[in-house]
Symmetry: C2
Subunit: 252 residues, 2 copies
């Protein structure tokens, strides 16, 4: 059904977008785009920046694996296929300029912003919305803001995104729990496909989730980099995350 390309052709594909950790390339089929996961790692709004050889592969593979898992759970996503070592073919979405954060345990900015103990489990999962707007430092929004700012036409679509996020939280939490991992919090981005259907886009991996070992509390995500750990230790963390989720050694 979908076109297949050989990796060596990819560099010829026109770049239509580039972020800190991913390059978006145009594909022949106008309904698809190619996501290339870079070996870059960044933190502090891009102020801290390094290269971590193999991270692109690890994150592309974990994202693909988790998108496949979520598709089987009935969650609409942009995912089409994984191409070794660091590519993901996805359906083209019109992305919403919103980051949706779901929190099970108080961590990160949440504990700085509110009077709550870091590491405490919340009474129930909380969904937050942030406007993607670098100049305005990604201000938090509530559900009504999303409608009055014209990001979505109705509160019903906001609720749909919230319900999908909570469904992802439930599915991912259960899956990760079976791998000995606590899903602390995560970020999603949504978009609409050509039929106007709301789907999950972007990526799901150790850059977009906080993951703690269930027993020891060991951090298995990008927080080790934010904390300023050695790059070798950061890479080892990404490798461990891969091994736990995929069930095999990463090819790096």
């Amino acid at each position: 059904m979908w076109e297949v390309m050989l990796p060596q052709d990819f560099s010829k594909l026109e770049v239509i977008g580039e972020g800190k950790t991913k390059i978006v390339r145009r594909m022949e089929n106008p309904d698809l785009v190619l996501l290339e996961f870079k070996d870059a790692i960044t933190a502090l709004d891009g102020e801290k920046k390094d290269t971590l050889t193999g991270k692109g592969h690890i994150n592309a593979r974990i994202s693909s694996f988790l998108f496949e898992f979520l598709s089987k759970e009935g969650v609409p996503t942009h995912y089409v296929s994984f191409i070794e070592p660091n590519y993901m073919v996805v359906r083209r979405l019109k992305m919403l300029p919103v980051e949706i954060v779901c929190r099970n345990i108080a961590a990160g900015s949440f504990t700085k912003k509110y009077p709550v103990k870091a590491g405490s489990r919340l009474k129930y999962p909380v969904v937050e919305y942030y406007l993607k707007d670098d100049l305005r430092h990604d201000p938090m929004m509530n559900e009504d803001h999303i409608v009055v700012l014209g990001i979505l036409p109705s509160i019903e679509e906001v609720k749909e995104i919230k319900e999908l996020t909570l469904k992802v939280n439930k599915s991912l939490s259960n899956f990760l729990d079976s791998k000995g991992i606590t899903l602390v919090d995560f970020k999603l981005e949504f978009g609409k496909d050509k039929d106007g259907k709301i789907c999950i886009g972007d990526e799901i991996n150790g850059d977009s989730m906080r993951l703690w070992d269930k027993e020891t509390g060991r951090v298995l995500d990008k927080d080790v980099y934010r904390q300023g750990k050695k790059l070798s230790e950061v890479l080892e963390t990404y490798r461990e995350c891969y091994k736990r989720i995929i069930g095999e050694e990463p090819k790096v």
Copy 2:
């Protein structure tokens, strides 16, 4: 039903709280407290500060008048009675540490935070919640935050506050419109009475509302002070606000 006291006795009443613009005094009846409105005016988180003779009277009277109006509209409030010149007897509430803001038109911080044109009418009224926490600079919350932070026990009570706020918005907007005033936005604070019932507390006046003349757009609220206008002009604005709402000249 309620005790009546002579103004000269008030200074003997124990002070049980004091803010930038109000003093709270204990009354003989333990279910009541006396709010004394000061002539102080402040802005920029208290950095800017002046005395405006007569403001205490104006704001106590406008608050009393609007609370009476809202009570008649079926909105539960803490209001009991007005005492000349600058006192309000209210039922004692256990206040929630939340400021609830309702916006009809984009103004103030909203236009700095989000990409929206100042002065544009929003698609529908938006309700926002801010944690009252000076050290944390009053962070914005969404409805779930209010529950997981333990401020209210259930999302149903949050919805109750939201519904009451929207009801106040409708009633006040209609009333003010009949006085030639556009209600741009306003702030409410809620508390629970001794029976656990959610009621509006604090004050409603030109310090807590943005009010624009319907025809000319003239500002009739504290924004003239925030804008750095002369104190005589600021007082004239408060007097005009009083005249429009109460329908007579203030006694200052």
